[in-house]
């Protein structure tokens, strides 16, 4: 049990490995914007990491860019526009709903529907086929087995 618990604890704390460099902004709102922006923007070199998680040079340059723009008093929206103007929607972990991203947004719902339809289909089919009746002989056998196990 102990090794298992230890493993669980290790797993729980291993996920939060972020913040390669730490930047402090004067205003707590800006600090919050910095934290949320860096975890919403994708590192384009290491594509499955945010710029907050990544050690890549480009990620650190983009963090610097976000930091400087916040210091200049730019809003979160302005920074997101700045980034998408240069790197496209791909830089966002949460891309806007457009025709080109339609499959991305609707795909999961579509597959869920297929799954539900399949379940419904199977359940219906099972209901329509009559449950198998036991023959008298089989019932007798089962009763016998149950009785012997009870007496044990």
């Amino acid at each position: 049990m102990k090794p298992f618990l230890l493993m669980l604890v290790l797993i729980l704390f291993s996920g939060k490995s972020a913040a390669v460099d730490f930047r402090q902004l004067e205003n707590p709102e800006q600090q919050a914007a910095y934290e949320s922006l860096t975890s919403e923007l994708r590192c384009l070199v290491c594509q499955n990491q945010t710029i907050k998680d990544s050690n890549a040079e480009l990620a650190s340059d983009l963090r610097r860019q976000v930091y400087e723009m916040l210091q200049q008093g730019k809003t979160k929206e302005e920074i997101v526009v700045f980034m998408t103007d240069r790197y496209g929607d791909f830089v966002l972990y949460n891309p806007p709903f457009k025709i080109i991203t339609g499959l991305l947004w609707l795909g999961p719902a579509f597959f869920l529907l297929i799954g539900l339809a399949t379940i419904l289909f199977i359940v219906r089919r099972q209901r329509s086929t009559p449950a198998n009746r036991l023959s008298a002989e089989q019932a007798q056998k089962i009763r016998k087995l149950l009785e012997t196990s009870d007496s044990n």
Binding site: V45, Q47, Q65, T84, R86, G88, F90
Partner: protein, 177 residues
């Protein structure tokens, strides 16, 4: 009958998705700059830092903007192709020396040859960000009006020069200023 059709349909669907997946190039992110004016910069020349250049200096010409660095391994692979292209003198080739050290960059050009009409410096990567650069090498094609018309991510191959760059350059050279 359904017993056979369902697994077959599943097999076909999965095969189609996997086959499409093989053809995708996740490293090639479509550039939002195609058809937009080249981002402005004012950058020092690599060989003469006191001189500044901006995209305006290339107006009226078709130019390639090639992002390179001496630390970049695929740039080394691309370099002979660029040298070859430069000899044909079909378009101006401008180099963006990205996050590099001046000595190392100049040394690279001395030893491997210099395909660039001029190279400019971007030591802290800010011009790179403005141009949406995320992987070196990258090559942009800019037309006479200063509009970006094409972007190639990764090393340019001899094949890409023949089949894409040269025809595009010829087409852009024919356009009025």
């Amino acid at each position: 009958m359904l017993k056979y059709i369902i697994p077959l349909a599943l097999f076909v669907t999965i095969s189609v998705f996997l086959a499409l997946g093989l053809k995708l190039k996740p490293n090639e992110i479509p550039s939002p700059f195609i058809g937009k004016p080249a981002p402005v910069f004012s950058a020092s020349r690599l060989d003469a830092p006191e001189q500044k250049l901006s995209p305006k200096d290339f107006k009226g010409q078709v130019w390639l903007f090639n992002v390179w660095a001496s630390w970049c391994v695929s740039c080394r692979a691309e370099h002979p192709v660029l040298n070859e292209l430069a000899q044909q003198q079909k378009a101006v080739i401008v180099g963006l020396n990205y996050k590099d050290k001046t000595d190392a960059a100049l040394n690279w050009l001395r030893t491997l040859g210099n395909p660039y009409n001029v190279s400019i410096m971007d030591q802290d990567g800010r011009i790179g960000i403005d141009w949406g650069v995320y992987g070196v090498p990258e090559t942009f094609v800019v037309d006479k009006k200063g509009v970006i018309r094409y972007k190639h991510t990764g090393p340019v191959s001899a094949n890409a020069v023949e089949q894409t760059l040269l025809p595009l350059i010829a087409q852009l050279q024919a356009e009025p200023e």
